[in-house]
Subunit: 337 residues, 2 copies
DNA sequence: AAGGTTTCCGAAAACGGTTCCGCAAAAAGG
DNA sequence: CCTTTTTGCGGAACCGTTTTCGGAAACCTT
C-alpha cells in the first residue's frame, strides 16, 4: 500500500510536489483548475499532511502542552475542558503532562519541553515546587508559558488566577459571621501561590474581626491523603478542636467530612466547614458543603485564549497580562447556624 | 542565539553529525572517549533532540492519542490518570481529544489522526456514534486502536471493559432484594456498548426474578442534562413512579438526586437508587449512594499497557485480546431497606 | 611484511512538507 | 510586432534526525 503524501499526489497528477503543496494551501499563484484537480484527488485518497514534516519545516507544531499536578480533580478536569475547547477551535493539539505534585517530575517534563515539541505551555505548578529555575530556563528559551491558578512569581509572563486573597478573606468572614471563633485553615503546601494568598485573606479577616490568629490552627496537610489524615485526625480529636474549618482545597474538605463522620462530629453543629471546591455534588453532600467555587472552565478557556493570542501575533512585543477571575461563595448547610 | 542541534554539537566538537547522533544513542561503534566528549557538551548546552525531525525520520512519534467523550467526568479522568502513568513510564506522549459526545467531532478527529501524528490510539466512543466507518478507516490504515469502556464491535482489535452485563444483573438484583418491584433503568444512549450490556443484565435479572419488564421503565435520557431533566422529572412525578432506579451512568444518578430533592421524594424510603459511578464522594452524599464502581484507573493502565505492548513488538502478528475487569457493587444508604 | 579484521568515524540519502527563486508561456501594453 | 508584465508552475534547498554504506587507520595473524 503506497503512502499517500505529496509525492504520490504529484505523480498521479503529473505535477511538481511544490505545485501540489501550494494548491492545497490555496496559494494565489495556482490556477483554479489545477487546484480543483488537486483537491479532488486529495479528497479521494484521503490525504492528510504529515504533521511532523510540516512542523519540522515551519518550526511550529500547532501543539501546546498542559502541565498540571493531576487530572482526577474537578478543578483541573474542568480547566482542561476549557483549554481543549479553545484549542480545538483554533486547530491546536493538546499534550497532557501530569506532575503528580512531584517537583522532580515537573523538572523532567519542563526539561523535555525545551525540545520544541510544543509552541506554548499552560502550567499550574506542583505543590512541592520551591524552586522555579527549571521554568525560568524554559522561558528563556523563548517558549511562551502561561500560568493558571497555581502561578510562579519568578517569571514575567501572563497569569490567570482567581481572587484568592479576597476569597480567603470572604470565606473566613463567612465562618466568623456564622459564629465561629476557632477557625482552622487547612493548607497543603507552603510554597504554593494560591494557598498562601488564601491564607493571607484568612489571616487578615481574623485580624479585621479582632480574632487573634492561632498558629496551631494553621494546619499544613499534604497532597497525599495518607499524610493528611493523621494530621487532621489529631486536630479534630484534640482538646481544642476548632469550631470552623476553612479548607484551601477540596480534597481536605472531603477528608474532614470523612473524619467528622468517623469521630462523630456533627457538621455544622459542632464544626462548620467551608472549602474551595468544584465538586458538582457539593449540594448533595451530607450536609451540603459551603464552597468557594472557582470558574475552572473559564480559567482554562482564558488561559488558552491568552496563549493563542500570543502565539498568533508573535511579531508585536508581548505584554504579560494578569487576569483575575472571581470565585463565588455559595453558602450551604455545612456552615448553617 | 544559535540553536542547539546536532549540527551545532558536531561543529563544536569537530565531528560529523552522524557521529554525534550515534554517540548520543550510545551506539556500539563510537569510542568511549568520543561518547564522553559528546555527552558532556550535550549536557552543557542542554541539548534536547528535535522530536519532529526524529519522528519524521523514524516514522514513529512516541505519541498516543486518547479520544474520549469528556474529561470532566470521574471515570474518564481516572482513566487518563492510569493511561498517563504508563505512558510516562514508557516515555510516550499523550494527546487528548474530546468528542463532547459528538459524532461529527469524533469523525473529524479520527480523520485527522490518519496523518501519522500518533503511533496508536486509545478510544472510548461517543454516545451518539452509530456508525463506526470512520474508525474502520483509521484501523485499515494500520494505526493500532484499543478501545476501553465504550467499545465498538465493528473493529477487530483489543478491548478493555468491565463486566457490564454482570454488573447490570447484580445492580438490578440488589434493588430487587431490597424490595423494589418497579425498577427503572436510566440509559443515555441507544448505541453504546456499555448501556446495552448493562440493560441486558437488567432485563435478565428481572426475568430471573419473575418481574415483567415494563418498557415505560426503560428511560432513554441524554448526555445533555438539559434534555435528561424533563424526561426524569416526568418519570418521577408521574402516577406510576418507580420504586427503584438503576442509573447506567453517574450523571443520571446525580440528576435523580437533584430531582428527588426538588420533588420531595425520599431516598431510600420512597425510591432506591443504584448507579454506575466513580464519585469519590459517594459515601458522603445524602443519602450515601450505592454504586457499581468501575476500576477506572486500572482500565486506563491496562488499555495503555496493551497498546504499548502492541507498539513495541509490532513484528509478531498481533492478537486482539479482550480484557474484562470487574466492577464492585458497594451498598450504601440509597438502597437501604 | 602482506593480508585480513576490527575499530571508529564521515558522507550522504532519506523522511514529507514548505518556500524561495526562476523560467517559460501567455497576456497586456505601446 | 516587439517589449513588458503577469500567470502558472517546476526545481531545489531546507528543517533536524536517523541510518546505510563505505573507507581509512589500527590492530592482529601467520
Amino acid at each position: 500500500m503506497e503512502p499517500v503524501n505529496l509525492k504520490r499526489l504529484a505523480k498521479e497528477l503529473n505535477l511538481a510536489i511544490s505545485t501540489v503543496s501550494r494548491a492545497l494551501r490555496d496559494s494565489y499563484d495556482i490556477s483554479p483548475e489545477t487546484k480543483k484537480r488537486v483537491f479532488e484527488l486529495a479528497q479521494k485518497l484521503n490525504y492528510e499532511p504529515n504533521p511532523y514534516a510540516s512542523s519540522l519545516r515551519k518550526q511550529k507544531s500547532r501543539t501546546i502542552a498542559v502541565v498540571i499536578p493531576e487530572v482526577a480533580n474537578n478543578f483541573f478536569s474542568l480547566a482542561i475542558n476549557g483549554i481543549e475547547s479553545i484549542a480545538q477551535e483554533k486547530g491546536y493539539h493538546v499534550l497532557i503532562y501530569l506532575t503528580h505534585e512531584d517537583y522532580q517530575k515537573e523538572v523532567s517534563i519542563t526539561r523535555h519541553l525545551q525540545s520544541g515539541r510544543v509552541d506554548g505551555i499552560l502550567m499550574s505548578v506542583a505543590a512541592n515546587t520551591e524552586n522555579s529555575s527549571h521554568i525560568v530556563e524554559l522561558h528563556n528559551k523563548g517558549i511562551p508559558i502561561i500560568f493558571f491558578d497555581r502561578v510562579s512569581d519568578d517569571i514575567d509572563t501572563s497569569r490567570i488566577t482567581t481572587d484568592d486573597y479576597d476569597s480567603g478573606f470572604k470565606a473566613t468572614e463567612h465562618l466568623i459571621q456564622c459564629g465561629c471563633k476557632q477557625i482552622a485553615y487547612l493548607s497543603f503546601s507552603q510554597h504554593l501561590s494560591i494557598t498562601n494568598k488564601r491564607m493571607r485573606g484568612y489571616l487578615e479577616a481574623l485580624e479585621h474581626y479582632n480574632i487573634k490568629p492561632d498558629r496551631k490552627l494553621i494546619i499544613l496537610c499534604s497532597s497525599d491523603n495518607g499524610q493528611s489524615y493523621p494530621v487532621l485526625r489529631k486536630l479534630l480529636s484534640g482538646k481544642k478542636r476548632p469550631d470552623g474549618i476553612f479548607a484551601s482545597v477540596e480534597k481536605l474538605a472531603i477528608a474532614s467530612y470523612h473524619l467528622c463522620e468517623e469521630l462523630k462530629i456533627d457538621i455544622p453543629k459542632d464544626i462548620k466547614v467551608i472549602s474551595f471546591s468544584n465538586l458538582e455534588t457539593a449540594s448533595l453532600l451530607n450536609p451540603s458543603l459551603t464552597t468557594i467555587t472557582q470558574p475552572a472552565f473559564d480559567i482554562g478557556k482564558k488561559a488558552a485564549s491568552v496563549l493563542f493570542r500570543r502565539l498568533e501575533k508573535n511579531k508585536t512585543p508581548f505584554m504579560s497580562e494578569t487576569v483575575v477571575l472571581k470565585s463565588a461563595l455559595i453558602p450551604r448547610n455545612s456552615t448553617k447556624v
